[in-house]
């Protein structure tokens, strides 16, 4: 079943031409993904997580972006491939669920048309076959009375329903890799739980690989096999999900976790905020990109950028003074131990 390498990204660099010079949104990211596995990409706004996912999909405008490195899907090079090549893979091999269900659907086309379109184009189904498949897809994603919804326009559906429709469209041609960029941001918690469960279940049923891009550590904690943490265009830590939460090495990962309020903690627990804000990518700090905000910063961090090294099998991080290297009490300037 799983185990087959589906996606290989090597030293992917993406920069945008701006009036103030090139903005390096993704600065050398490498990752791999096997069939049936889920990879979480976590980061705050501006960390490059969305640009990375769009670069993998080949959705960035070639006229204003420079992309180097390599993105291989099942052996085929996708980076800078012409659109007509990519179109053969989109939908049937790689599909994407976008963040904003309110604006990602075509407002003047019926839901049914939007689901049958890829079926007719890619799978060359007849009109009636496509409709049949679309109705069964609507059923699979949990839309009540699919026959009526098939004729509906997007504005007649709620946000959660629209996201289900987006998922149905993405899954229409049975892709092997699903990219989900913030699929539940903006949805209510109960709906978020439904959508995440739906994605996991469909993934299991179809043995799909999935990339889940989110800002919320809670979303990836129980639903991924591996996590990549991004900061200012760089991967700063990469580890299997359990390892990451148990023995995170990069101070940024720790800071992100500590600043997230939790239901398990008592009310009025003081949050450990990260002071300052993410760097300006047009004018990045020298050395480690997190150094201006890092509580454990030392001189070396300002001078030299730490490379991403695999310290233990599967666990890589980019830090000169990782949290797990020494006795946590000695490494920590605060008395706070890492939360269990």
């Amino acid at each position: 079943m799983s185990g087959r390498r589906l996606l290989e990204v090597e030293d992917l660099q993406v920069s945008f031409a701006t009036s103030r010079g090139p903005l390096r949104a993704v600065q050398g990211v490498s990752l791999t993904l096997d069939q049936g596995k889920t990879l979480g990409i976590v980061g705050e706004s501006g960390s490059g997580k969305t640009v990375l996912s769009r670069a993998i999909m080949g959705l960035l405008p070639l006229s204003t972006t420079t992309q180097t490195g390599s993105v291989r899907y099942d052996g085929t090079e996708l980076l800078n491939a012409p659109n007509n090549e990519l179109r053969k893979l989109w939908s049937t091999h790689i599909a994407m669920v976008f963040q904003d269900p309110m604006t990602s659907l075509n407002p003047v086309q019926r839901i049914g048309n939007q689901i049958t379109e890829p079926l007719r184009i890619h799978l060359k189904l007849s009109k009636s076959e496509a409709k049949e498949t679309a109705l069964s897809l609507l059923m699979q994603v949990g839309i009540p009375s699919p026959v009526e919804r098939y004729e509906a326009y997007p504005f007649q559906l709620s946000g959660g329903m629209r996201q289900r429709v987006m998922i149905a469209i993405a899954l229409a041609c049975a892709p092997r890799l699903l990219m989900a960029d913030e699929p539940t941001t903006g949805l209510d918690v109960t709906v978020q739980a439904q959508i995440l469960d739906l994605l996991s279940q469909l993934q299991r049923d179809r043995d799909m690989a999935m990339i889940l891009v989110t800002h919320d550590l809670g979303v990836v904690a129980t639903r991924t096999d591996e996590i990549i943490v991004m900061y200012a265009g760089n991967v700063v830590e990469k580890a299997p999900t359990n390892v990451l939460f148990k023995s995170m090495a990069m101070p940024y990962t720790e800071a992100l976790l500590k600043s997230t309020p939790r239901i398990a903690e008592p009310s009025h627990t003081r949050l450990t905020a990260i002071e300052g804000r993410p760097p300006d990518l047009l004018n990045p700090p020298s050395g480690c990109p997190f150094s201006p905000r890092c509580p454990y910063v030392q001189d070396k961090c300002h001078l030299e950028k730490p490379p991403l090294v695999e310290a233990e099998p599967g666990h890589s991080y980019a830090c000169w003074f990782p949290l797990t290297a020494a006795d946590p009490a000695a490494a920590s300037p605060e008395p706070d131990p890492v939360p269990a």
Binding site: D188, T190, Q194, H215, I263, S267, P339
Partner: protein, 329 residues
Amino acid sequence: MTDTAVEPSAVTTDPLLSVEDLHVSFGRGNATVQAVAGITFALRRGETLGLVGESGCGKSTTGRAIVQVEKATSGKIRFGETELTSLSRGDLRTLRTQVQMIFQDPISSLNPRRRVIDIVSEPLTIWKIGTKEDRVETSRKMLDQVGIDPYVNGSRRPREFSGGQCQRISIARALVLKPKLLVCDEIVSALDVSVQAQILNLLQDLKQEYNLTILFIAHDLAVVKNVSDRVAVMYLGRLCEIAPSDLLYESPAHHYTAALLASAVEPDPEAPRMTAALTGEPPSPINPPSGCRFRTRCPRAEARCAEEVPEMREIGPGHQVACHFPIGS
């Protein structure tokens, strides 16, 4: 735990704000939306009450009705000794010095063409408090307190700031008149987690310093728990449950509260992972279910729930629930 718990400030039983059977409806005839359909609660001096619920449950409308941005259809809102729903426009203006609101979108709630220092000092200018120099001085102090350097950044305009900084400026503007009550409507939902933590900590500090009473409206259960002394849960225009924060999250009595908690995601791979506790979505507030409004999605619903609207009743110290068959009874 890793962090020092902040001591709750002196909370008295004497209510600063009491809301009684508040109704707010929009539209008319067949298309009347009962956004708020009869809710009653009190806000004690010095406490933070969290108001949580999903979109469309009426939590924002409740907040807006309290600051009188939205007109109450019926019901009473008492602030100290004053009845707000029947105030004249002039008296209402005076009252606004004591009741302030902070909105969700930090950037669009600031005037893009004005300098930050002017935005913060405008309330003082309107009320002609002090001389011009005093006003600038007060505003500078206020900006400094929220973490914006008034000398470096005072002359800049909102577009030059990030979302988190704009939210700091909004807080400064709301607090410059030293109000008693602050209504915060989803003030951190547009911010990144690291910035969200900064703003929540700032709010906590300012609350102590200015002795504020806060109504904190949000959809994020963890955020609400973190800032609130008590939490009220709303569903489709009505209150389901009110209890002290820790108690509510530990032993929810309303099935809706329990479902909300089960749906929340925690950044912990070992946290028990529940399957979605609720199916479907809330029914339309134009035509809400009879009896208990949650009954159509409730796992425990019986015939009685369709016939009889459950009233709020006390099931423990400070713990009220509106359910015929509360959990644990």
